[in-house]
């Protein structure tokens, strides 16, 4: 079943470069990065701080612009899109989960989740059912009428996940989603993401430097100094085993044991 989906690429990144700074003081954050993510995949991107992984995610998620190369999502090249089109694209194709949940303080959980739908002018009856559906899936129905400051960090992060999912995006972008969570909340969130990926075929692209988080994915891209260093597929191995293999690569990449776990 998975194989039929593997065939359709959702994201194709080719020869992506990103250069910061001007003459004489140039930082090459991304250097000729190419990879493909297929529909229904759960892909992790790992790397140390400064390796370029966040830059990569920013470029892919259209928040930052690439210096050269192409990024195609669902066949559309986002590097050539106009600003107005980009907003619409982000709204319709992408869902975001950030390290800090980035919920709006003044809105309740229900309103936060509904926001992408109201922006897209979905009718209110449909908004209501879809919010309740996604909340049930992420087990946050009981906090829907609370404000962010009244929720735990894990709940906030799952509300943020619900907000990312509610529009049925082509791809979910998660930037260190467990970074600010305790281990129990982190596990709950990762299990939710895994379940979404398994049961609903949601495509997830997750940036992390946490090997444990990465072990929930089906494939991990390792990035170092702006280049893809290697990639690791989970295949049919169980999560424990996959975690050990990830740790081996991290150790091999060297000097980052303390940083990457």
């Amino acid at each position: 079943m998975q194989t039929t989906h593997m065939a359709t690429p959702v994201l194709e990144v080719a020869h992506l470069e990103k250069v910061y700074g001007a003459l004489g003081n140039v930082t090459r954050a991304l250097n000729d990065v190419s990879f493909t993510v297929n529909r229904g995949e759960f892909v992790g991107i790992m790397g140390a701080s400064g390796s370029g992984k966040s830059t990569l995610l920013n470029c892919v998620s259209t928040i930052d612009s690439a210096t050269s190369g192409t990024i195609r999502i669902n066949g559309q090249d986002v590097t050539r899109m106009k600003q107005a089109k980009l907003s619409q694209f982000r709204r319709e194709e992408l869902g975001f989960i950030f390290q800090d949940s980035n919920l709006l303080d003044t809105l309740t959980a229900r309103e936060n989740i509904a926001l992408p739908l109201t922006i897209a002018r979905t009718n209110s009856a449909e908004i209501s059912t879809r919010v309740q559906d996604v909340a049930a899936r992420l087990s946050i129905s009981q906090v829907l009428d609370k404000y962010p400051y009244q929720m735990s960090g894990g709940q906030q992060q799952r509300v943020a996940a619900a907000r990312a999912l509610v529009t049925d995006p082509t791809m979910i972008m998660a930037d260190e989603p467990t970074g600010a969570l305790d281990s129990k909340s982190a596990r709950l969130l990762l299990e939710s993401l895994e379940a979404l990926n398994r049961r609903l075929r949601a495509t997830v692209l997750m940036v992390t430097h946490d090997s444990f988080a990465a072990s929930y994915t089906s494939r991990v891209l390792f990035i170092r100094d702006g280049k893809i260093f290697t990639e690791l597929r989970r295949g049919d191995t169980d999560r424990r085993e996959f975690f050990d293999r990830i740790m081996e690569v991290v150790a091999m990449m060297g000097g980052e044991g303390s940083d990457a776990l």
Binding site: S61, R90, L94, F98, S101, L104, T106, L115, I119, I127
Partner: protein
Amino acid sequence: MLCKLAWGNVRRAGRDYLVYLLTLTLGVTVFYAFNTISMQVDIAGIDEEGLAQVMGSMLGDLTYFLAGVMAFLMVYANNFIMKRRKKEFGLYQVLGMGRGRVATIMALETVIVSVVAFVAGIVLGVGLSQLMTFFTASLFKTQIANFHFFFSMHAFNLTLACMLVMFVLTLLLNLRAVRRTKLIELMGAERRNESIKTRNPWIAIAIFAVGAVLVGVAYYRLLRDGFPLTATDSKLQEAMNQFGITTAMVTVGTFALFWGLSGMLIKLLQSLRGVYWRGLNMFTVRQLAAKVNTVCFSMGVIAMLLFLAITSVTCGMSIANVMNENLERYNPVDVSQTYVYYTPETLDYYKEYVNPSEADRMVLADATVDLYAAWHGERKSADNNDETGKKVNIADVAGEHVQIDSYLSYTLGGSDPSVTAGEMCKAMGEKLPKALEASNADDMGLFVTPASQYNKLRQMMGEEPVSIGRDQYLLTCDMGGELGDLYTKYMAGGHTLSLGGHELKPATDRSDEDTAAIANSAMGSNPGTVVVADELLSQLNLQPYSSSLLVNYKQGMDTTEADESIKYTLLDDLLVDGKKPGSWGTFITRSEMYTQAAQMNGLISYLAIYIGFVLVVACAAILSIQQLSNVADGSRSYRVLAQIGCDDRQIRHSVMAQQAVFFLFPLAVGLAHSFVALKVIIELVSIFGNMSIGGTVGLTCAIFLAAYGGYFLVTYLMSAGMVQAAIATRYSE
């Protein structure tokens, strides 16, 4: 080292400090310029001593008021900047800097900004005061003879003192803030998901409703009771208390309205599901609600200040307009001199309090006297000292002239007037005009005047005489407005008047108010007179009240010269059989009235405009600071919105909607208050003529609204820029 750090901070935090700097500069400019008014008056060539005195005392009080407004504004701006800088001060402490040195840096920053603001403010203030001199001159209708650059040391010192006080005040507040705040709070000043002050929406709605009811009841009370000014002495205390209650109600009500506003908004919009769950409406409302909760007090203050500003400007200028419009009617002749007789009611008062030394020479007046013959005296003093002691006689200057005798409507020695406005209203089943209702103005009743004198004045003014038969009467009044209407209605209704046993019918159905004056005056001299046939009057044997001699100068005579030649005359005592039946009253030249009115008009307009402008600008500045700080606080939210696919246009609309509510709601409340207050004021003033709110008032209000709207626009544009910058920032660096 610390200086360098502080200077660097000020430069780096430029945008934050800009708001503070602008506010301070504005404050200094306005304060300095305001305190140069007396100098401007000098240069504008207004050399009336009385005026300067009136202005001086009024300005003294207003300076305190202005200082209060400025202090509020500056403390507000200071809090804004402190909130922004908390994290940095926390960082210094984390790096190991002692609190004392952090405090020093902060004090230095405040000093730098204050000094810059002071210098800039004074420079702008000096410039503004030169410009204002021309404005002053035009308001007082004078020419600037020799304009020269001026600098007021007095205003400078006052401004400096005021600034120093405020500087110390803000410094103490800031030091307290640094000392009191825990390091963790300083560092976390920007922390995520800050707790929002939420209010139970039902309680908020209840409070909003209470506010609305309080304001409504206060409106009703004000419309019913009017201002306590009209009350008689005995009722004044009571009226003042009632008015105090009304004021308290409207104040509390206003604050309650703003306190409950957010809950009201949320519940209202949530009930409209289609609207609430659409676009950014939900976000806009929630943002508003969160912010309104924290600033509801200052919004209330702003609404009240706007109310004060609108009311004072509109009212002041309208009264000045009315006075100016009717000036011609109030002053029919070049000069008038009044003589007031002693009546049974006033004689004792004069004997005991006014002139006890002459008590034995005073007698009750039983007949009128010939003022033209009696108007002579000695020149008291003048610019030209040579003329002191010179004999002056009205005959030297008088051309056409007429004496108008006013009698009371009771016979000699009596006391109850038979013709009063109150009785007339009763006869017609009307309500007594507001201004007469609570006062004792009607106790004296209407005056009675012979037709021949009335007609002679009409002739002098080029009008046809009115024929009044033995059994007829005519009611005259030069005040217009409600009183005039009352008399016209009475005559038009064919109502009869009973005078000394004679039933009189109206001679015509209306009278000409332009020929109704009985002397020159500032605001009308004839509150109501019954004109009757001479032969009837002589039979009635009425109590004389006053006589006025109305004189036009000889043909070809220069008015200014004529004025000068009879001014400052100490009139000889008017004796009948060696006794005084009354005393000389006011001597009023027409040109004097015109000058006074122009100055009064100028003064009122000036102060009204100035106060109004300061208040409006202060309000707008506070709102502007609030909104900019809101946007800065909310920049993360806008970034999130952009990330989840909200386009810029939608975000800008949301910002616009939020700021529109903040700017327009207090304005709407202020306008509503003003509308009611002005309605009452107009009713009160309408006794002097119809107060029209238009022309200059309209223009002034338009300027104010432009200033207010300008602030709104600039705030919005700056906010839109800040939002754009926030969106453009990469979210994880």
